[in-house]
């Protein structure tokens, strides 16, 4: 267990370093005048950007040699200081707390909802492959996959906010606000996870231990519950782990349509506005989340599948 943690910690360190360096390098080589972009980001499109950019350049020391800037970043990183956003001037850590925090909540809610929807449907589809439930499940999954998230979001808003009037179309802060964006994401996730689950269940159903469990005389519910779900969950969990990572950053459109202050939104702004500390901080946080999620997936897989515990 300690070894596992240490290895994870080392991995996190490597990820932090590489991600930071990579972002820094990429942001450096981007064409265009960073000061101009920062100025536009700060003062908006009506401002006198060129003049503001001169001030920005001076204020931020963007003229310094880039190794100096990078070492600066590293030195502060060691003290857990991610610097200040070049655009808002607020500490990057504070911004991340709000935006990454909001995104993580959203992602968590989405995953929870998708777990209720996707695998449940997947199990019913997988128990009778090619039955009508399965075909319906396939159709639903394909429809949800072909709708871009903003279209799906709009449809949900129309249904839940306008037609039924149950939920607010946008906003954040309460769990009512979380419901629609989370559902939008969850449906997108469930579209795939239901198929993954369906395939996993269909495989399990054919497995000798599942057949034997039936031959033992167990009622079907017990067979599925005790021998089907756990075994089918193994591939589903590793799939969901990957999804969770895509989710935290892949939600930018959902965030903007639901006016939800997430990290995707922040990242897009930070990149467009050349807010290097913000991009680095975000990428770093995302990298660490990636490490954490993979570790969690490994732990969950090991819990589900005793065969994996041997190797640890």
């Amino acid at each position: 267990m300690r070894q596992f943690l240490l290895a994870r910690l080392a991995q996190a360190g490597i990820v932090a370093l590489v991600v930071g360096a990579l972002c820094f390098a990429l942001m450096r080589v981007l064409p265009g005048d960073a000061a101009m972009r920062i100025a536009a980001g700060r003062y908006g499109p009506d401002a006198r950007i060129a003049e503001a950019a001169d001030k920005v350049r001076l204020e931020l020391g963007l003229d310094r040699a880039w190794p100096v800037q990078f070492l600066d970043w590293l030195a502060s990183l060691v003290q857990f200081d991610l610097g200040h956003s070049l655009v808002t001037g607020a500490p990057v850590v504070d911004e991340l707390k709000v935006q990454l925090g909001a995104s993580v909540w959203l992602a968590a809610a989405a995953i929870m909802l998708s777990l209720l929807i996707g695998p449940t449907i997947g199990v019913f589809c997988g128990l009778k492959p090619n039955g009508w439930t399965d075909r319906l499940g396939l159709a639903g999954s394909v429809i949800l996959r072909s709708l871009p998230p903003f279209v799906l979001g709009l449809i949900l808003m129309l249904v839940f906010a306008i037609w039924l009037g149950w939920l607010p179309p946008a906003g954040f802060g309460t769990w009512r606000d979380l419901a629609l964006p989370a559902l939008t994401l969850a449906l997108g996730l469930a579209a795939v996870s239901s198929r993954v689950t369906r395939d996993a269940i269909a495989t399990v159903v054919k497995a000798p231990y599942f057949v034997f469990a039936r031959h033992k005389g167990l009622p079907e519910a017990a067979v599925v519950w005790r021998h089907g779900l756990r075994n089918a969950a193994i591939p589903v969990v590793s799939y969901l782990g990957l999804q969770a990572i895509y989710l935290v950053e892949g939600v930018v459109v959902v965030e903007s349509i639901f006016a939800y202050p997430g990290i995707g939104h922040a990242l897009v702004h930070a990149i467009v506005e050349r807010d290097i500390p913000m991009v680095q901080g975000t990428a770093l946080a995302m990298g660490l989340i990636f490490v954490a999620v993979t570790a969690a997936v490994e732990a969950a897989s090991a819990w589900l599948d005793p065969r994996l515990r041997r190797t640890q």
């Binding site: 265009g32 903003f150 950053e249 990242l267």
Partner: protein, 274 residues
């Protein structure tokens, strides 16, 4: 219990499954629409006619017109060619290196595998959106960085799946037997490993194409996609979206094309039920 007796369905030549035929027909029809459509539909997809703004379906414009009065049929045909072509290209660009690197990592192991694993993990840890946006910053509005950026984030999945599946296959006795019989690595990978992983890769590829199209539309939604007046299915949805209340069917036309593509791919890639 039945392993000892040949299941009778194996006695007959296995019938090509109906769903696959439907899937293939669907894909063929879409491919024809994408390839031939732009030639058959004479209308210029960029020609505007304000008097025909949001013309209804079935009138003078067969599939209606968008808010600028541009023929939606022409735009869909050109858009299908571009979107499907680009998705296909993205998928190939992701799949080929992904599969090859996966095979290499599983076959050679050692430092090569270690390095590739690290690389894959870094790419996974880097937000994909960031990669695409950064690449796009070099040449805004161009296909090149857009599809390259998407491929760069998508190859990892191919790599990971190929590596793990190949690793399990390579442990099986028939590989060992082939080695003892003197077959070279090229032959083993080509004749033994590739056929085994092909169905999985096909499924992944289907998903990757859908992902690519949706990703491009998502990027259009945050105004970093392709530039007007390029007819691309994703950006068409974004353009038409504000008119959802007046012309809901118009908005849904491009998603319907995407739906047919994903459905076709899904049907064709679906695992045999047996």
């Amino acid at each position: 219990m039945s392993t000892e007796i040949a299941s009778p369905s194996l006695l007959r030549p296995s019938p090509v499954s109906v769903t696959r035929v439907i899937g293939a027909a669907l894909l063929l029809a879409l491919a024809a629409f994408a390839v031939l459509g732009p030639w058959l539909v004479q209308a210029d997809p960029a020609k505007q006619d304000f008097s025909a703004s949001l013309a209804p379906i079935g009138g003078e414009y067969l599939l209606g017109a968008d808010h600028y009065g541009r023929s939606l049929l022409a735009r869909l045909a050109h858009g299908a060619r571009l979107s499907f072509g680009m998705a296909f290209l993205t998928m190939l660009t992701a799949a080929i290196p992904g599969v090859l690197l996966g095979l290499a990592a599983a076959w050679r192991g050692g430092w090569l595998e270690w390095t590739l694993e690290l690389l894959a993990n870094i790419v996974l840890a880097l937000p994909g959106l960031m990669l695409v946006l950064l690449l796009l910053a070099f040449a805004p509005g161009n296909f090149g960085p857009l599809y390259f950026g998407l491929a760069l984030t998508l190859w990892v999945e191919f790599y990971r799946i190929t590596r793990t599946t190949t690793a399990t296959i390579l442990k099986q006795p028939h590989i060992e037997a082939a080695k003892l019989l003197g077959f070279g690595s090229g032959y083993i990978l080509r004749s033994y490993v590739l056929p085994s992983i092909a169905p999985l890769i096909a499924t992944l590829a289907a998903f990757a194409m859908a992902t690519a199209i949706i990703a491009i539309s998502t990027l259009s939604a945050i105004s970093v996609g392709l530039q007007p007046p390029t007819p691309e299915l994703g950006s068409m949805i974004v353009e038409l979206l504000p008119y959802y209340a007046e012309a809901p069917v118009h908005v849904l036309l491009p998603p319907i094309l995407i739906f047919l593509l994903v459905l076709g791919l899904q049907l064709i890639a679906q695992k045999d039920s047996r």
